[in-house]
Symmetry: T
Subunit: 151 residues, 12 copies
């Protein structure tokens, strides 16, 4: 199983930006930690990472990945609330997909409830810090084992 | 570690009600599965289950459980969208707490985004079927290991 | 045919509360009148009455009545406008169901148009006083004769 | 007793338009059925039918019918949601009046809750198919026996 | 192929009313131009024109035209924004149908985006002046050639 | 000077409908009174009356009256709040025009502030009973003397 | 009869401010014109003028004028839309009262429909320029002759 | 005089929950304090206390208390904002009634302004801590002395 | 202790304006009654009264009273709903402050729930007639004894 | 004449994504078909195609194309609903421009009515499948022949 | 050049009220600083200061200042959000005008975006503390040099 | 001091696009003018310019500029109203930042009040043409001299 893990705009600042909200783990540390976790705990799972501040780059990555990956973990960050283009692209992605947000979006500004990407995903996890990525990978694996296609 | 797992109104119908949405696992099977999972995979974790169709009963259970449990997994079902009283009670509960919904609330009626309980929880998981409960228990364990108190 | 007739919160005050709106018939008189009507006019129909001020009690009654009753007449009173839990329970009830309100809800406060229970019922009758219950029973009988299952 | 039964715009298509919603009974069959029902079951009740796709024609019919009829059963169809002129006319009609809709308006588009005609009627029945007309006639008879004037 | 071309309220004033918005072509000129266009350019296409300031007349025309015409081009003008009765009638029309507006409705008052008729049509063309009617006829022909039924 | 005075739907009931709101003067009496007033007090002014329950008839009357009349006094009644077609027609009428309502619309239901016809008229008078028509005629005369064209 | 004529904030600029909207007549000219009109045309009517840019001054004038004047013509200008205090004061004024606006408020910004003062007046006139004041005085006279008290 | 003092959901946590908002007095201390206050300061006043986390229990208490008590002091807590059933019950209670909230609801979340219970009470006191209960009892006594019935 | 008691616009009409709502006590009587009450019942409390129909005068009174008074009882009347300037001034007043309304604002027009002054006060009392002022003074005294500063 | 034809985000998936909505024609086939159509049917018209998933690339293309192209056909896809930057760019483009959507946007999610690009275009065509592009090119040609500049 | 600098309600408290928001500079210090700045840095510029808690006084100052001053710097404070009267007055002021707010209004309560005065000003500066006044004076000077009249 | 000056989408068209709104200065001229101004008037200030039509490019520029620049002047143009990603990036930028718009956004479309970037900036200047950039640079310099960090 090959799972694509995408981080959207400004997550290059992870660990430095508002650490009281997002924690002190950097993106590199997070990716290494997930790599290690899937290598040690999950046989047959390999991860591919993508990150960009540009909506179009993420869409290109997704649109060209049909059949190349078996699942998607995505933190769309600020694009969650305004990108109809990314929504269309995730909707078209034909494999299980789970949205992750590091903070609890229900306890923050109201616009965060208008998550366009969550509307077309299979699952949604938030508020559990960077551990949310691990849970999302576990969920993708379980969905694939149950034979589910993407929503 | 002792984790309280609460299911709200109508989850007594789980497995029979709208199985295309909620699946065919019954509540009894779900609770047995979680019991088995925590016994086998998670040393030192025991689960206590509660279920009720009555808001007041759930509040009594929570208000009398301060210090008796170490964490809370709750699926408030229909109470999520109108119970300010349950919201107050969960807010007062001084341990890590994670809300679970079986279906993806973002892909359903708009009122489901007004989740009053999610506003005062630590984390939120939805759309991943009954597997969401397992992930929630994993999350509580991780939060407790990291020394976190409830939101 | 066995039809469950449920009256929700504050209908214990029927006949005493705002009689210019709700009339002077008490709940006991109403139930006796319906009993007599179904005994005399409707062969093969028996009625079972339920009344409670508590949402959870009504849900218990409904959830345990699948297959035990053939139809439901319900006046959810104040619960009509805020109980997502009762809505879920009525939705799950697998038999014909008709909502009754004694007064014309369209001629009163705007919130009465947000009738959550009416959304998941087969039929809806309002504004015709306690006679509305008789019409609802007639309707259930006709729906059953036509072989309809609940909405 | 003489009761006016009015059907509004597009009910000339009844039985052909969206039969999964409105059934297969045509308007002619419905009117014959009601005629037969009132002749056989209700002594002293005669029915007069009106149907038009034009708001003004219906208003003329109502405004010229004060004292000529004893009650009104009306399915205003699409006019229910935008005709302030029909609303004024029904309000002025000085006899009992009941609105009927064939489908359950609460389970359809939100605009159907803004029923301007229902606001000024005595009673409202929906979701019970063409049987709703029978129930409405029964209700008018009962209101007249109880000495009620129109709302 | 026989296509019905309907113009709604106030289009009798075309060419005289607000010419800076609607142009100087009169309705008669428009109809002659379309006649000529279909005769010369489109073999096998004949047009039937209807125009009325009255909602009920247009509905009568449509409801009696099932099977008589093969397609519909309609400019509902002011009825677009409030006629639920016309919406029902167009929805019931079982052939391809295209809505035309002479001006660009997106660049005018906000209420013009609530086009009830457009919701139940196959296609929608606006902002291209009276040329829009020609394009609509071309579109109907293409839809019929592709074997499409009405939306 | 020739002034067209139009009364819309249900004003045929004037004097009988809700007299505590609309007074006891009938439409015939009102028209005679205005006739007498203009004959005695206003040299060179003649009145033409129109009344209909049908939107299309009123539009026909207006659209065919360009240049035939010098001004318009109109009480659109229930059409004021939903007729975009009448709004278009009044907008196109190229002479001074004043809207009259018998009651004070600001002291009644909120929808009465959405007066579509008032938006395109020159003047608006309400709350002054049937005297409002006299004032409107005076206003039209003054606007004409000042050389004003319609709004 | 003694009628109080009040002009609110910024009407000291009348004739100079936005003359394309408000005309070129100054406040002094308007008051002289009204004086002359009532002296010549209306026996037994005398006018008293008040004008202020200060809400409190206008309220003082009204509250101390109970019984001193027989009627009120008021153009509250910008205070119409936010002064609950002036609304209370006009409501308490126990004589006929008519609100005048020089321009057609329905053809301008939406907030002008929220006229707090109009809600508690007897009548309302707008869009007829400074002639509106004359009509308002005529209306007050007619209301007084009919024995009406203030709304 | 016998006054019923009811505390709603989660007030069993008083003194422990968010003490910076609600203070450190427990419910038992509050009830003892009120008891003492009424015994010492108010001759002829006795208090009866009720508390429940369950809407239905509070309604039962109120509906069975007509004529048994002379007044009501109620802190409905979270039920204030969603319980139409409790609203109906308080409305039906035929004695003076005062709503108390410990904190200033105007300085908190917007939903707290939609206090359904306050709408049907005589008086409302908030923001004054537990002293608010004393003031409410004083108010009930004064209302009773003035011969007032419930709103 | 020196408490400032301010009454806003139109309260000079107290006892005369809408007595069925506001009672028959005049402002002078109210102030004398409060004077007497504080002299007889509350040692060490003296009252200073202010009243104005002008927003600016009340602000001047408050802004110049920091440290001169120990508390504030204010009935802002109509200014409650639109005066951001008074809100700023009350917010800046550094002593305990309680808002009083004579009638139950929750049972009246919706705009009364947008009480800008209540948002920045310590406490709020309404619906208890002129007795509300006494309770407010009691509350200020209690707040001062407890050492509280203004909100 | 040289016409620029732009397709926005995710149209690279055309023919594969939701074919029941968008059809089975791929983007390459569509472009070839349009090329052939304009070569064979439209003398003097050449087409230039652009496609990108990136808002900035499309803006660059447009801003550098002033005077280089004579008209624009654009399907902005998901950017239609949120790109104020693209809206500004299309607005600045000084040639005729027509927006095309393949599906009927009025029959889908409400956000599709907020088409920012349509607001600044000359014409708008939707619901007619890929044939809409042909009609748009015809429309551009007609606009150019009529000497029109861009909106 | 003579520039009028006006400060509205509660700015007499500047330096004392919420210093963490508004800073510790008092109004007197601010005015002296601006005086000094314009004397030293800006040849030919003299400043006139006005401050009042009363809307009417500010309007008097503006309405009588046409031609007397060459520009206006105004901080309307709380009047920005509700004074239609001040808006009318500023609109009528025929010279360049710039609105200043000390704090960043976009980062505070939503009502601050409804700045009625900003709508009719030339420029707007906020969030830069008392330095904003200096920048506003610079801007006025530049606008005058460029020959601009007021907006 | 090194200040980054960023211009967003479509500002490459400055001087050519809608010159009656944006003036005739081109972007190149503006940048040269600012360069000259800072070189001549502001010792120790150097400017770095950035411009792009692509959101992602601007974010990359900002995220990589922490510590490299001392302040930010940004005109986000169309991105101001929809880019949550740019908002996050500006929020994370740890130096003083001022938003500039060339036109007065309060006098244009309502969506311009929803300026997401202004919410997280220190200051905001609009309506003063290209001079606004100079004022913004002055403001940054003053903020830096006062030792302020970014908001």
């Amino acid at each position: 199983m090959k799972i694509l893990v995408i981080n959207g705009p400004n997550l290059d600042l992870l660990g430095r930006r508002e650490p009281e909200l997002y924690g002190t783990t950097t993106l590199t540390q997070l990716e290494e930690d997930l790599e290690k976790y899937s290598r040690e705990k999950l046989a047959d799972v390999s991860l591919v990472f993508g990150r960009s501040n540009r909506e179009g780059e993420i869409i290109d990555l997704l649109n060209s990945g049909h059949g190349k990956y078996d699942g998607l973990v995505i933190n769309p960050a600020g694009l969650s609330y305004n990108s109809y283009a990314l929504r269309d692209s995730v909707l078209a992605f034909p494999h299980p997909k789970v949205v992750v947000h590091i903070t609890n979006v229900f306890a923050r500004e109201p616009y965060r409830r208008n998550d366009l990407i969550a509307e077309v995903a299979d699952g949604f996890i938030c508020g559990l810090g960077t551990q949310g990525y691990r849970l999302a990978i576990d969920a993708i694996v379980a969905l694939l084992k149950a034979g589910r296609k993407g929503a």
